[in-house]
């Protein structure tokens, strides 16, 4: 055996060994996709407009306060759409003062003057882009935290889509879609706001004191009155628009019981939140504080004394609701609401059926191919089968190393790899037969067969790799799985059909001087 040949044999053994190590035992090392394992697959869209709206409203409120402080009397300050707000009726005499006061807003907004002392502020385009991106990132991180709190093993939360506002959520092994969706989807936007009027059973009754108008710095929120022992009724409250604290100021939230032994959520605030909260509660003792969750007032306790950093949310919750609410509050509010674009649930039996049938079919197919190769190519068939086995081992090993998952289309890629593997060997063997028929020696025929076909294989594999690359680039989940499998399969096959198979031939021939070849 030549030194060169020994090194080549060692290289083959080393690579195959490393790949075997990566896939044994297969039930632990080979990662299965959702379609095989069962679970929930969701695609959501982050309504990034919500985040823009939040910023625009906050700026609108700030400008209003500043103008009041500076003594500028204007007709009105209101937000027009998620990225614009308008100030109307600025008196000509106070125009300069207005411009000076509102200058702060111009850090983020472009000012444009209209007729009759009106000004329109439009959010700067780069801020729009940034806020949208931030909203998606924040939503992803929030959902990741929630999913982890749920105790799902190996979840996937990833950004996707051409517009960049979609999130893919995969929860293997989860079958209760509704619960999972509720946890992911609840905005859990908590705000604590001072009550100015109410609660009242109707909007009209609530606004009587203010002549049917909602003052500019206030808003009406709906709520449900759930005093113990009475039927819950819908009520309305008039509250300050600017919140005292929000969910962002929370440090922790946990299930607890209120004074009537009903399920409730207790929360603690972080330093910043505690500072704001204790100041506001000290200034407003004996007034009511509305606890608003996702735009709905849950309760409105009276402030009895200064509170520093603790509070409780009550309001007719069930035990399950309290647990879910603590979970979502703790993991933070979503910066924007979500809509669902796609939902797939694969029950565990359905996935197991697919695996069983997929493996069964692959084995039957493999057995047929192996029998054919042995019948047709005899001993050389053994060579082809070893090369094919190595091909599959390297493919699985490579997928395991990069952490790729096995999906149904992945199995399709697997079968295509088998097909290409067999084809490569057939090409080489047929060529060797041709060379043998032309009365060349065994060794020379083998050499010619491999070197002639190498270019053909390079061409066929390159074209297939081109398709696979585009598939990966443009495809979504399952198609990507197919492209990944195919790419690794092609590369592994080029190695096994030319290098491994040839090394095997030469290993056999190095022992004896062959006159004939079993092919």
């Amino acid at each position: 055996m030549g030194k060169d040949l020994r090194w080549r044999a060692l290289l083959v053994v080393g690579i195959v060994g490393a790949c075997l190590w990566a896939i044994i035992p297969p039930e632990k090392k080979v990662r299965l996709g959702l379609d095989l394992k069962g679970g929930v697959h969701l695609v959501l869209r982050v309504q990034t407009d919500d985040a823009l709206k939040l910023e625009t409203i906050a700026t609108t409120e700030r400008v209003r306060e500043e103008l009041e402080k500076a003594g500028v009397t204007v007709g009105g300050v209101r937000d027009l759409n998620p990225t614009q707000f308008q100030v109307t009726g600025v008196p000509p005499a106070q125009d300069a003062l207005f411009r000076q006061t509102a200058a702060e807003a111009q850090a983020n907004f472009n000012r444009e003057s209209g007729v009759g002392g009106s000004y329109t502020f439009t959010m700067k385009p780069n801020l729009v882009v940034q806020l949208r991106q931030d909203a998606v990132t924040q939503a992803r991180q929030t959902i990741e935290r929630r999913v982890n709190e749920l105790g799902v093993a190996e979840p996937i939360v990833a950004e996707q889509g051409t517009a960049g506002d979609q999130l893919l959520v995969q929860l293997p092994g989860v079958t209760d879609v509704r619960h999972a969706k509720n946890i992911i989807h609840s905005t859990a936007f908590l705000e604590l706001k001072l009550v100015e009027q109410g609660p009242m059973p109707t909007r009209e009754a609530l606004l009587q004191a203010t002549q049917g108008q909602v003052p500019a710095n206030m808003e009406v929120v709906p709520g449900v009155d759930t005093r113990a022992g009475e039927r819950p009724e819908a009520v309305y409250l008039l509250v300050r628009k600017a919140p005292v604290v929000t969910g962002r100021d929370l440090r922790n939230a946990r299930p607890s019981l209120d004074q009537n032994n009903q399920p409730a959520v207790s929360f603690t605030l972080n330093n910043e939140g505690a500072r704001k909260f204790s100041k506001a509660t000290a200034e407003n003792v004996n007034r009511y504080l509305a606890i608003i969750l996702d735009g709905q007032a849950r309760s409105w306790p009276r402030i009895e004394s200064r509170i520093s950093d603790e509070g409780q949310i009550t309001g007719g919750f069930t035990q399950q609701e309290v647990q879910d609410l603590s979970l979502v509050l703790k993991s933070g509010a979503l910066p924007a609401s979500l809509t669902y674009l796609e939902e797939r649930t694969i029950g565990p039996t359905l996935g197991a059926d697919s695996i069983r049938s997929g493996i069964m079919a692959s084995l039957v197919g493999l057995a047929l191919i192996v029998s054919f190769m042995l019948l047709y190519y005899r001993l050389s068939g053994v060579n082809a089968i070893v090369a094919l086995a190595f091909n599959l081992i390297i493919l699985l090993g490579a997928m395991s190393y990069v952490g790729a998952t096995m999906t149904l289309p992945g199995i399709a890629g697997f079968i295509l790899t088998i097909g290409i593997g067999v084809d490569s060997n057939v090409l080489i063997f047929e060529r060797i037969k041709e060379e043998l028929a032309a009365q060349r020696g065994v060794r020379a025929s083998i050499q010619a067969g491999f070197s002639r076909v190498f270019l053909t294989l390079l061409d066929t594999h390159s074209t297939a790799l081109i398709s696979a690359a585009f598939l990966f680039q443009f495809g979504t989940g399952p198609i990507r799985g197919f492209a990944t499998t195919l790419t690794f399969g092609l590369i592994a096959n080029l190695f096994t059909s030319t290098f491994v198979s040839r090394t095997l031939f030469e290993l056999v021939l190095s022992r004896r001087q062959a006159k004939t070849l079993s092919i």
């Binding site: 379609d35 869209r45 969706k181 989807h185 809509t339 669902y340 674009l341 796609e342 939902e343 797939r344 649930t345 029950g347 359905l350 059926d353 697919s354 049938s357 997929g358 069964m360 079919a361 692959s362 039957v364 197919g365 047929l368 191919i369 054919f372 190769m373 047709y376 005899r378 149904l408 289309p409 399709a412 079968i415 097909g419 057939v426 090409l427 047929e430 037969k433 041709e434 028929a437 032309a438 010619a448 070197s451 002639r452 270019l455 053909t456 061409d459 066929t460 074209t463 297939a464 081109i466 398709s467 690359a469 585009f470 443009f474 495809g475 979504t476 399952p478 198609i479 197919f482 195919l486």
Partner: protein, 336 residues
Amino acid sequence: MQIFKSPNYNFVGYRWHALTLSSLVILAGLVAVWVKGLPLGVEFSGGSIVIVQFDQVPAIDRVRSAVGRVFPGGGQNIVVQSYGSPELRQIMIRVPQVGVESGTGLSDAADAVEKSLADAALGRFTVEGREIVGPVVGQDLTKKGIWATALSLTGILIYITARFQFSFAVGAIVATIHDLLVMMTFLVLFRYDLSLNVIAALLTITGYSVNDTVVIFDRVRENLRGMRKDDLSTIVNVAVNQTLGRTVITAGTALLSVVALFLFGGEVLRAFSFTMIVGIVSGTYSTVFIAAAIVTFWRRRKPVRVPLGTGPVTQATRSPQTARTKAKTPRSPRAV
């Protein structure tokens, strides 16, 4: 063992028959699409699929009428059929997308299906799987699928042009598009939905068909160097015959594995393996008859330029057909 002992069939001679046959099949497919519409899977059309497993399978009609009751104008657009092998006792229900994208509204239709089954007292059942796709996803997927296919075909066109020549590339691409159209025809005629798995099969065949074609082209390129006196039709025909053994064995083994997949692969892979079977037959046929024919039409009888340095590595050529003309080959091959 040898399937063909130096075969010499006149494949190129049958190119007109082949083109007629292909045109008829594709025309039938187009008519079928025009009459019945393209059967889109839920991934593309949007909608909901619910797969339920009953303790005791009720009659399909009872399930259909139960579901039809909750969907206005239902019945026509609702698909109810048994799913998988009978012992699994599974039924698949597909309803079109209702309502718009909003909050949790996406799953309303699927929820309504489940509720209607429960209300109709059809016996105990469990929901085995749900697949709900909003309209946005389908549009996205269609756009991406078309781009991926178009770009990969362009990529292959460029590669083959670089490695062989433009007429070869056109032949390969036309053969591949031919296979895609034939597969579509059979999908429509046999009422298989165009699902993601079917798309995977279509793409697999794209790769397979190009692969098959490249092997023959490779031989044509090699023969062009040795058979300078023969016209292109002869050269192509010799190449097809030389690689015939390989073509048949490869197609045969590939068919073995997909037929196994069709028979034992279960419901999920049925449409996939069906598409593959059609595609392998069509891909093999189109390589031999369509791709080769296009090349001969492109430059009939005119000598073909061989790019330098793209021939086989070894200069000595002893295969029967090339040996015949070896003596006449000029010492230093120059492009003509």
